[in-house]
């Protein structure tokens, strides 16, 4: 039984890996960016757990910048993905332009809130 579950886990991982390799490159780039943003957010949370939340506004600003940009990147991925029927009529350039504008507003807000 144990051997079959570990073999199942290995098979699952291999199938995920092969399925993922099939995704287009631009989507993989977006995924990498999201992972980077979430990783930065996690580092900040760990730091706050160590040091305490003294300038709480700075902490929130830092975490919000990472999480916000990750969310916007996920939205871009949804809109640009060709397999997604819902956004078939939306031009990918329009999606990217929205992404850039929203990020500009986001960064303006967090620089103001950073203190």
């Amino acid at each position: 039984m144990v051997k079959s579950t570990s073999k199942d886990a290995q098979d699952l991982f291999r199938s995920l890996h092969s399925a993922y390799s099939a995704t287009p490159t631009n989507l993989k780039i977006i995924d990498l960016y999201v992972v980077f943003a979430v990783f930065t957010a996690l580092i900040q949370v760990a730091y706050m757990a160590l040091v305490g939340s003294f300038p709480f506004n700075s902490f929130l600003s830092g975490v919000l910048s990472c999480v916000g940009t990750a969310v916007l990147a996920v939205c871009l991925r949804i809109q640009v993905n060709k397999e997604n029927k819902e956004f078939k009529d939306l031009a990918p350039e329009r999606a990217f332009a929205d992404f850039v504008l929203c990020n500009l507003v986001l960064h303006l807000v967090i620089i103001n809130f950073l203190g």
Partner: protein, 432 residues
């Protein structure tokens, strides 16, 4: 008509100099003293004491206690700065004097020497009671001491003096002080009265000519022979249980305590009463304070408001009256409080030996309305109670540090995210 107005002008001209011969803030020693006697022979039997007072510049006015023209005030102005009552057996004063007017005299800041003796009248006891001193209720009782006496067991040779340079001067009184009279006690909760000459532990107060039927009420060191009181307005009162303490006979007499080999040529009485009279008439131990000065370190002007965690310097000038002039006061126990409901800062002031007391400290991390308070109550000196109010504000929003060091990782994260977004957008648009 012309004659009347001219004479009125002349009389008022004569009255004007009278106003200059009184004690004032700049010259606190008393000048004019009324001496009430119940017997004019006291002038000669106590001549040494009165002549020492006159030689120090006092203007003594001798009157009989029952003189019907006695008055302390005229037209609302006090005529005298000090009062000596050597009238222990007087039942009622003449003129407009009574215990109420004497209490008002002391309330106005003027000084009093009151002496009782054996068979003190109720009037004298009442005045002493107003000042916080309780004479023995038995009117025939005297202080008897079977171990500290000289010759007669009612002539006490006392040497239990209060340790105060202000009240008794710098020179130690070597010989015992001779005393024959009544005992009094002080209420221990009263912090304005003080025992200057106490009886020895073997003394007690009883009638010397009759057998004791019950143990005496006043015994031992609880008996005070001479006490002083400094009122809250710095008026000074000396209350003595013996009129003979001031008399020439005891001032000149030699002392030998029974059972002690030391014989002193002269009793300590003259030095004792002279030093005590210097203290009671404000020739010694009288302090005056200038205004409290405070400013930020590096500035000279007094600011209207301080900020928390400011560094400030505080100073006050205190002078002591030497009898003739104001000398700088030197002490190492003057303290200042930075007070709001309770002292947040309590610092001892350091002196520059020229009367200026100064210190510097940091404003605490609390904002509100504070007071600089100097409360000085030293034995024998006038009480100083000075205060000055100053508000303290918190930081303005632009007085905080611009960049908080603990938040550097967050600043870094934000800028890293922005850089990442920039790089991502390039890579996304131009990848192949």
């Amino acid at each position: 008509m012309m004659n009347l107005s001219r004479s009125v002008a002349l009389i008022s001209l004569f009255l004007l100099p009278l106003l200059t011969f009184s004690f004032s803030v700049d010259n606190p020693t008393d000048r004019r003293v009324l001496v009430l006697l119940d017997d004019l022979s006291l002038k000669s039997s106590h001549s040494i004491f009165f002549s020492t007072l006159k030689s120090r510049g006092f203007d003594l006015d001798f009157k009989l206690a029952e003189d019907s023209k006695l008055a302390l005030q005229r037209y609302g102005q006090y005529l005298y700065d000090g009062l000596i009552i050597f009238a222990p057996s007087t039942e009622r004063f003449g003129g407009s004097l009574d215990s109420k007017s004497i209490a008002e005299f002391v309330d106005s800041g003027r000084d009093l020497i009151l002496s009782a003796d054996t068979s003190a009248s109720d009037l004298i006891r009442g005045i002493a009671l107003e000042c916080g001193v309780d004479f023995d209720e038995d009117s025939s009782a005297m202080v008897i001491d079977h171990s500290s006496f000289d010759g007669d067991h009612t002539l006490i040779a006392a040497d239990d003096l209060v340790k105060s340079h202000a009240i008794l001067g710098k020179t130690k009184i070597e010989a015992p002080v001779l005393f024959r009279g009544v005992a009094h006690s002080l209420n221990p909760t009263n912090n304005l009265v003080l025992k200057v000459l106490s009886a020895s532990p073997s003394a007690y107060s009883a009638n010397p000519s009759s057998k004791l039927s019950s143990p005496p009420q006043l015994t031992g060191s609880a008996i005070s022979l001479v006490s002083v009181m400094q009122a809250r307005n710095n008026a000074r009162v000396v209350i003595s249980g013996s009129l003979q303490l001031f008399s020439d006979r005891l001032l000149r007499s030699s002392v030998q305590k029974a059972g002690s080999p030391n014989k002193y040529e002269k009793s300590g009485n003259e030095q004792f009463v002279t030093e005590l009279s210097k203290w009671v008439f404000h020739e010694r131990g009288h302090l005056k304070a200038g205004s409290l000065v405070h400013h930020r370190v590096g500035e000279t002007d007094e600011p209207a408001i301080y900020r928390i965690k400011d560094d400030l310097e505080f100073s006050v000038e205190i002078l002591e009256w030497s009898g003739k002039s104001w000398e700088p006061y030197v002490a190492d126990d003057m303290q200042v409080q930075f007070y709001m409901m309770s002292p947040y800062v309590l610092k001892t002031l350091s002196t520059d030996k020229k009367g200026l007391f100064h210190t510097s400290f940091k404003v605490p991390d609390v904002y509100g309305v504070f007071q600089f308070k100097v409360e000085y109550e030293k034995l024998g000196y006038t009480t100083l109670s000075l205060s000055k109010q100053i508000p303290v504000r918190p930081y303005r929003h632009n007085e905080y540090e611009r960049f908080i060091p603990t938040a550097y990782p967050y600043y870094g994260a934000c800028f890293t995210t922005m850089a990442g977004f920039f790089v991502f957008s390039f890579v996304y648009l131009y990848h192949k």
